[in-house]
């Protein structure tokens, strides 16, 4: 009996206390700051990687109705499920990176700093009025609402495009710069988990003898010339197209013209830099000419039909001379050099 009563009492007490906390929060008396912080902290501990999911109610509670020198800042990620299908916005990727920054922040901080910054997200379909209140009408959008920010439509806390260009690392830099808190080096989960790695290693070890057996018999794909040849041509194409440059510098395929946003810029003037599409186009021209040469001298001569031979030859000649002209022209344009022969001075 006593046990049951005790239980009931306990739950009643809990109910009262939680009710009172909600009441105190909504009335926003000065002592409620720490309560709000505590509540955010408890919400955080229940959400995945520490990103709190807020709705209109939460926004009004933690940001609007609370008095302005708030003891905490909120980094808010604006999400919209209906736009996830638009890959060029990269919403899901950015959201993942956002989660990483949050998790790293949690892992690297403890004590008082931990409750100075909270990572939150709101979703468009469920909190449209908040989007309006923030004045957000384009995504992706990440906004830092510092403790002193009074008006939500104040856009000074907005994270620039450049700040999430390098994903989590640059987001963390933005946060560190604005809040003077430390996030620390981003801890990405390993590409393969330990279990996966061990399974893969085991499979490789098991498969090795069989592979070697086949190798000794000489009947693998590796003995196919064509495969090696196409691989070789691919590596060649990959290198001369400057793909490594694009990867290292993270160059976009093309740029938008600054003066005319509808126009796209595919070719960048100035040596030592290139855009993605530009490299591939030129690499393609290189490869075509080389392969045509090989084709004409090695395959075409075996064709019996004279007219076909003539036609293909003509096409090959025209195409390669056009390609060479294009590349030379582009190179001169890009580097700004005017390459010319030197004639004997008496000829001039």
């Amino acid at each position: 009996m006593t046990m049951a009563i005790n239980k009931k009492l306990l739950s009643l007490l809990l109910l009262v206390s939680s009710l009172s906390s909600i009441a105190s929060a909504s009335f926003s008396d000065p002592d409620s700051d720490s309560d709000l912080t505590n509540e955010l902290a408890s919400l955080r501990s229940n959400s995945e990687s520490g990103v709190i999911h807020l709705d209109d109610h939460g926004i009004s509670k933690f940001l609007i109705s609370s008095p302005t020198p708030r003891p905490y800042s909120i980094l808010l990620f604006f999400d919209a499920t209906q736009l996830h299908s638009k890959t060029e916005l990269r919403l899901q990727e950015l959201r993942r990176e956002f989660g990483l920054v949050s998790a790293t922040f949690l892992a690297n901080n403890n004590g008082s700093d931990l409750n100075k910054l909270f990572f939150c997200e709101i979703e468009f379909s469920r909190s449209q009025s908040s989007f309006q209140r923030f004045g957000v009408n384009a995504l992706p959008h990440i906004r830092l609402v510092t403790g002193s920010t009074a008006k939500l439509s104040d856009e000074s806390g907005q994270m620039d495009q450049s700040d999430f260009a390098r994903l989590a690392e640059s987001m963390a830099e933005f946060v560190e710069q604005r809040t003077k808190l430390t996030v620390g080096p981003i801890q990405r989960p390993p590409f393969l988990s330990k279990a996966q790695i061990s399974v893969i290693v085991a499979m490789i070890v098991i498969a090795t003898p069989f592979v070697i057996k086949r190798i000794l018999r000489g009947e693998t794909l590796l003995h196919d010339h064509r495969l090696w040849l196409s691989g070789a041509i691919f590596i060649y194409f990959f290198s001369v197209a400057g793909t490594m440059h694009n990867i290292i510098r993270k160059m976009p395929m093309f740029l938008q013209d600054r003066n005319d946003p509808n126009k796209l810029v595919f070719f960048y003037q100035g040596s030592g830099m290139q855009l993605g599409a530009e490299g591939f186009a030129v690499g393609f021209l290189y490869t075509v000419v080389g392969l045509l040469l090989a084709f004409v001298t090695n395959v075409l001569v075996r064709v019996r039909n004279l007219n076909v031979q003539r036609l293909v030859m003509l096409v090959a000649l025209v195409v390669s001379s056009w390609a060479v002209k294009q590349v030379v022209y582009l190179d001169n344009w890009k580097t700004g050099y005017g390459i010319h022969p030197y004639w004997p001075s008496s000829w001039q």
Partner: protein, 725 residues
Amino acid sequence: MAAKKASPDLVNSSFSFKSLKLKTKQQELLLRVSILGLVYVLAFIARLFSVLRYESMIHEFDPYFNYRTTLFLTEKGFYEFWNWFDSESWYPLGRIIGGTLYPGLMVTAALIYWTLRFLRFFVHIREVCVLTAPFFASNTTLVAYFFGKEIWDTGAGLVAAALIAICPGYISRSVAGSYDNEAVAIFALLLTFYLFVKAVKTGSLSWALGSAFGYFYMVSAWGGYVFIINLVPLYVLVLLITGRYSMRLYVAYNCMYILGMLLAMQIRFVGFQHVQSGEHMAAMGVFLLMQVFYFLDWVKHQLNDTKLFQTFLRITVTSAILVGGIALGVGTASGYISPWTGRFYSLLDPTYAKDHIPIIASVSEHQPTAWSSFMFDYHILLFLFPAGLYFCFKRLSDATIFIVMYGLTSLYFAGVMVRLILVATPAVCLISAIAVSATVKNLTSLLRTKQKVPQTGSTKGVGSSKSSSKVTLDQSQPFHKNGAIALLVGVFYLLSRYAIHCTWVTSEAYSSPSIVLAARGAHGNRIIFDDYREAYYWLRQNTPTDAKVMSWWDYGYQITAMGNRTVIVDNNTWNNTHIATVGRAMSSYEDEAYDIMRSLDVNYVLVVFGGVTGYSSDDINKFLWMVRIGGGVYPVIKEPDYLVNGEFRVDKGASPKMLNCLMYKLCYYRFGELVTEYGKPTGYDRARGVEIGNKDIKLEHLEEAYTTSNWIVRIYRVKPPTNRL
């Protein structure tokens, strides 16, 4: 008399007409030798543009160190050189020169110098140094000829020699005056590869021995030897996988690896790294794998039962791989095998350097390559390369596999770093030469059979079996002659464009010593800026001999070699902290910088400034790297402090920290009084095209000591501390 003399000649010639076969062979030999001789000379004189346009001098930065050490070597002898502790650089640390350089280049130049002296040619060591690179480039053409002959035929060899003689990718590092390690290293690299391919082809110990010595020369000359010690095992591995294992390969690789390793360990800078560092482990692994293959072959020979052999095979291979893996793991974990160095790692994962090692990422020749650089350095070779690949695959042999692998790996690395275009150049030339030679040969043989000259068939020699079979196919087709002529004209047109391109590029782009700058004036005349040497000679003549000069590390070698003064840091970037200290001083406020300079006993500070002349690679443009490198060690330096909205500015909108840091003050001191361009306000920076933001600069602890005539180099004296009150 004359008639009498002429007659035996007549007889001779009519006699030789009869024995035509011998005569054509001799003719061919004569042609070949004279072409090679011409190419040899061409390779040398094409590299003399820099001497003609400027003067006989050492170029760039690193060559000044090499020159200084060579001078030391010829004056003091090898023993002193080997044990040299240099107290004039990296003050106050100093540097052990003998143990931290590749001595191949210096020893080579000294040997040439001593030989010339012995033959009573009294030349200055500087001339020898200036001309070492062209001389070795000429030798490289010879190696390219033999290599081409080995992998295809003599025609390809000749074309390869001609192509490599003027290829801009190679010329960029081997003009007269660029006295750098690469000058001899490319020769050594190609020689090693050639000898190794020859060894694999013949299975002869002497060729393998030769390649081991070639490798030794390469190790002594350049750090790029790591490429050889990884490419060769990779090649052997591919041969093993594709079932091309043979006794020849076994002999060639084992001899080359073991001897080469023992020899390489004699170079102090390499030493035990060769058996301990991760970069060399692939070679050792393949060496062990070779033994397993040999052992299996032997067991197979002993066991007649195939089933028994299969099970045996499975057990051995699995256990061998397991043991190898465990050994590698234990070695790495216990620290016996050192992990890969940053430079090597950044080749495999190219984004690594950018994020982790600013000192590597900051160097302009370590930038990734855009397509225009490939075009600039290879021109039509790029078009010919895929065709050459195709031909190689058509006629697959051990040698062509090697050249294909060399070409592809080096081309990939060239895409990662601009400077590695140099390593890829010989391979690209060779493969393109195969394309040219095979195409031209096919086409001309088509033309010749139409003329129905029966003798021509015999001149073809070896490689004609394929083309002659084609000829018989096409004999009844009159079009082909026209087509062949059109194609030939096309090929020769391309080749002539190549020659024009190379000549222009060599003369205009790659012959600049970069210590003397040239620009075109308003009337098309050449203006020479000789400010660097002006400044260094000023240092040499006007400062105390024990003065310490602080500058960014780029100029360290030049200051010690030409100014003969002690520097804090130089281009041998062995101590990152020391460089970061200088970077920190440059990016701090003057009073903070003064404390750092006092602690390093700095007497003079030297900065390079292009605001007056529009010279863009000056210290202000390099400044962000100083901040990054300084900030990498001293977190008080933060890059965002010097940026405004992520932008680097020097005008009024620049960040306050930027406007008051030491580098800014030293560069722009008194610049605000100067009108640089007509119609622009005072203090207009021509390199960045803006009016500077801080025109009223006062120096407290430093005073201007010397500014060169075009303001490119500015030297400041560090004042002694004021009296204590």
